[in-house]
Subunit: 191 residues, 2 copies
Amino acid sequence: MEKPIQKRTLATRAKLIAAGEAIVSEGGFDALRVEEVVSRAGVAKGTFFAHFRDKDALMERLIGVRLDSILDALSDIPAPKTTDAMVEEMLPMLQFMVSERYVFDLILRYSGAALIDDIGPIGMCIGRHEMVVMGWLNAEGVRRDVDPKILAEGIQAFVFQTLALHFCALHSDISIQSRLGSYLKPWLLAH
Amino acid sequence: MEKPIQKRTLATRAKLIAAGEAIVSEGGFDALRVEEVVSRAGVAKGTFFAHFRDKDALMERLIGVRLDSILDALSDIPAPKTTDAMVEEMLPMLQFMVSERYVFDLILRYSGAALIDDIGPIGMCIGRHEMVVMGWLNAEGVRRDVDPKILAEGIQAFVFQTLALHFCALHSDISIQSRLGSYLKPWLLAH
DNA sequence: TCATTTAATTGACCGTGGTCATTATTTGTT
DNA sequence: AACAAATAATGACCACGGTCAATTAAATGA
């Protein structure tokens, strides 16, 4: 995080973000065009790229805001006791992630950080989600023979797998819930 | 698959693919430009898009060829008996997948088919890989309480997770082998 | 208050993927 | 061989993300 001293800077950035949010709320994330953002914000194109590395950087922020609010709700909830309950609690997040193919691809691409110093909003959210989920693993019946960190990473893997197959016509006959459940049961439960 | 009757059509397509292969072999997949392809092939730009839906369609073919040859070798090998051996056998495929970030992203995006009728080369290869891996699951010690199809899909999920974390600076201290192994053991082995 | 340094903004310009009306070539028919 | 119908190839054009030297505005120091 830098330190944007000038008020003007904050104001411009806020205008850009607001414009981006407006566009997304009207036509979805996929419909966002940088030219449209700057024209609504009343600034030049170059200004956009003085504030965001690229289009994806704004996209990450906009998506991050949504994810964070979903995660806020998720953190407030008592730990679910069954895998079905876990799936149920994760559902809002999953549904947002598949709301647009574009969004899913973006989340996938940015869920890991390329460099240590640029863990973006999405990477943060994924990490946060992993933490929340890891906190659920004390539930009765959950296996103790595997490092909870590994278990949580595995859940992430299954989430992405589930959502990827959701977009795949060959496999879209099964609901997200039941597919994710069929991964989580053998992964988490002692047998 | 259509039926390109004219010889000319096949010849042009072959020229485009050959040009693409040459460029990739010189500068990697990321360096491929459609303009470069058509100029080497000696055709106009529009011709490219008469043969391939978009740039990614050519990319898929070029990557598919590589994946297929790796899979050919993989199919010829006797089923590994331990998870470590499985990881070892999968290594060539994994190494190709992470040879370029661009390649990994592309494989990720196309590993599932959007529509039933457009399972591209990459989707085919992923399916083929899943089949090969599923054939390994009769090994001694592999759990029998879960549908092998689900087990194989889970392995896919872990492969992608492993490769994604490989690109993530926060987690690149662990080797691909050991990370994938630490997922596969609890996933596949009875405990 | 003015001069100087520093930071933000601008918009013409570029690279590259993708489109489409027009033109050229092949194939089928008589 | 001559013509018509179908298929392939062309290249000027567009959309859109991204760059950068030049310009303008703000902060700093005297």
